[in-house]
Symmetry: C3
Subunit: 291 residues, 3 copies
């Protein structure tokens, strides 16, 4: 029997499945791409059964599932529904990367790790309850950083902290409400790392606050659409230094994000039992650099 | 001129074209799969014309059409519309297999033929007016079995018998209403073969009725979702013997069904003039076994 | 790094993206076809950004965009939206051919050029304000023919003439209202070339008017659906001669149209900076004949 072709089933909640994710899939070595738009969690079971009942378990490593789309919450539900539809050895590998949230967070934290010893880092995550912010906080905590999760609602920030602690029991995570945050963000110099993942158009830190100092070494703004949350960061910044602070923008970390995205898709076809969420995608990024 | 790539146009009436049918198509050697969901009969002509007017008749064996979807009646209308859109030599081969009805029926009857001389078989088809049941009855009659088509409505059962007789003039087919059927099914031992293709959740025969006997040799339940119609049949049964009766479930005949499905799709590309419905698909299955 | 696979993103405004355009794309050497239906101009930017931000500028010649669909006006808006979404070197090549309008017009004018010296030709374009008629008039004017654009509304015919003059400043174009046209078309013998691109079912010229003469050499009807606008033209006519006039129908010029379509799609992958509308597609057709 000839080797089976590598099939990726793309489950996207947007009407038109992402061209971005499709091109990356092809460039990662996918041979047949089945792209679905307008996916709701209800539709998942039948599609997954079609994926798992057509090839024997030994061949199922050549079939995989990618969950994407701009609606991150919906995609997370779909990701859960996919795993629920698996039946023992009748499963495939699956990756979650809605709106690039997982690969962006992984690239950001990996980039930060090049410039900081994360285990000794105090980090502030602005917009820490959004899709990217949550993941950045989780990945930082997993690398043993002390992380302040900031949000307009301290309750929601605490929910994120609790969710992180469930996955990383010894996490050093603290919630801080936007009012406190302003206090904190008025003092970004109290942190070694500041990452802004706030919604587009929200000014999180003004230029005047970034005067440098002993502690603050790395400032990232992950927003892909100007104006950025942190005044003065350029979307293309990739380590630009000013007053002893290194700056990074979304396009600046974009090259690494793309490498992680491609390597993650490629890795789906190594076995049929992988479930790639933020942590696994970060680990793939880390292994890329060692190799 | 290089050889044309093998294109399969999948016309599916579900919103999301079947992943199952797509994987099988790829594994059958299809090189380019054009998958369409939400297909209505009205949309067929333009799509078929796009298929037949883009390559010369000599190359049209490399383009083919697959009609699928959970709504079997709608798929049958689409299958007719496809053939109506052909223009003489400007046609492609086409296969109908909505919800797997044709390949399931072919696999069931072929499996039965391994254990029974069908020309000397008395068969009872429970749920005989449903998509799979009708096809099982037709294929059995075509193999010269005497077939009792059972339904809650004797009129509808008779309609099925009449349709079979139109295709197989010397068919030995009899309609039996559910009330009669209960009489019959109370006596499955009056048949050599009992096939249940009833709707999910309908109990057609109780365990107590399957006490074995001289006549009853093979019992099949083609429902893929438990509870099965025939009490005691396991979905994975593939010839399990009990009291002299051999049992078969949907997954049990699934391996053969998959082989027939793949061989049928592959055969579409041998010429541009094939129309694969239940009978032709059964014949492909039979030739597979001889080969 | 291995060569990138040739990806074509098909943006179609019909619910089901054209099978015709898909088969031609594959036969033109496209390796991965991303087909989108129901495209509205609003959806274009995100899709184009996915196409241009996934490969470096040096590799973007392996990604291209095809704009099609039966609604020609909508497709033209989408074509504009695609170009507006490009960002400097971050762009791809793009081709517009909604409902085959550009390739049909190019094939018609190229065919006419085989039988007439266009720079010395007086041409009448009936249905000259429709998608194909406009393009035929433009291409004829660009080849220095004197062109009468005919329409039921002289104002709309004049709009077409003005649009042509914007692109071809020295164009010899004249508007003629349908009432004048009838006068003219009562005298098709006053022209060397008559092309009918009227809506289906509109009789533009009767057989009695085509008695031949000194001037009229070529008569084309580009309607693909009988009854044709010019009485007596056969859809398959490909130079049939009668009374000194050569006749051409839609299928007659279809072979050349298909060659131009394929060559145009193939040419998209030569560089990432091509914008293929009627003129560029005509030029590709012309180069085909020289080669």
């Amino acid at each position: 029997m000839a080797t089976k072709r590598r099939i990726l089933v793309q489950l996207d909640n947007d009407a038109h499945p992402s061209v971005f994710d499709r091109v990356v899939a092809i460039d990662a070595g996918v041979e047949e791409l089945f792209s679905y738009g307008n996916i709701e969690p209800d539709a998942v079971e039948a599609l997954v059964h079609g994926a798992i009942f057509t090839r024997g378990p030994a061949d199922l490593k050549n079939t995989a599932i990618f969950v994407g789309g701009k609606n991150v919450t919906r995609a997370e539900e779909i990701f859960v529904a996919v795993q629920r539809a698996y039946l023992g050895a009748f499963r495939t590998s699956v990756m979650l990367d809605p709106n690039g949230a997982n690969t962006t967070a992984a690239a950001a934290v990996l980039t930060a790790s090049h410039h900081l010893d994360l285990a000794r880092t105090k980090a502030l995550v602005l917009g820490g309850t959004g899709p990217v912010g949550q993941r950045v906080a989780l990945l930082l905590a997993r690398q043993k950083a002390a992380v302040w999760v900031s949000s307009r609602s301290k309750d929601r920030a605490q929910d994120v902290c609790n969710a992180i602690t469930e996955k990383v029991p010894d996490a050093k995570v603290f919630s801080t409400a936007e009012s406190h945050t302003e206090g904190n963000s008025n003092h970004p110099e109290h942190f070694n790392l500041v990452v802004s993942a706030a919604a587009a158009g929200v000014r999180t830190i003004s230029r005047a606050q970034l005067t440098g100092g002993e502690m603050l070494k790395v400032v990232m703004d992950l927003n892909a659409v100007p104006p950025l949350g942190i005044e003065g960061v350029q979307i293309t910044d990739n380590g630009r230094e000013e007053n002893g602070i290194k700056y990074f923008g979304a396009i600046g970390v974009g090259g690494l994000k793309m490498k992680i995205h491609k390597a993650s898709v490629a890795s789906l076809f190594h076995s049929n039992d992988q479930t790639l969420d933020a942590e696994q995608i970060f680990d793939i990024g880390q292994r890329l650099e060692v190799a």
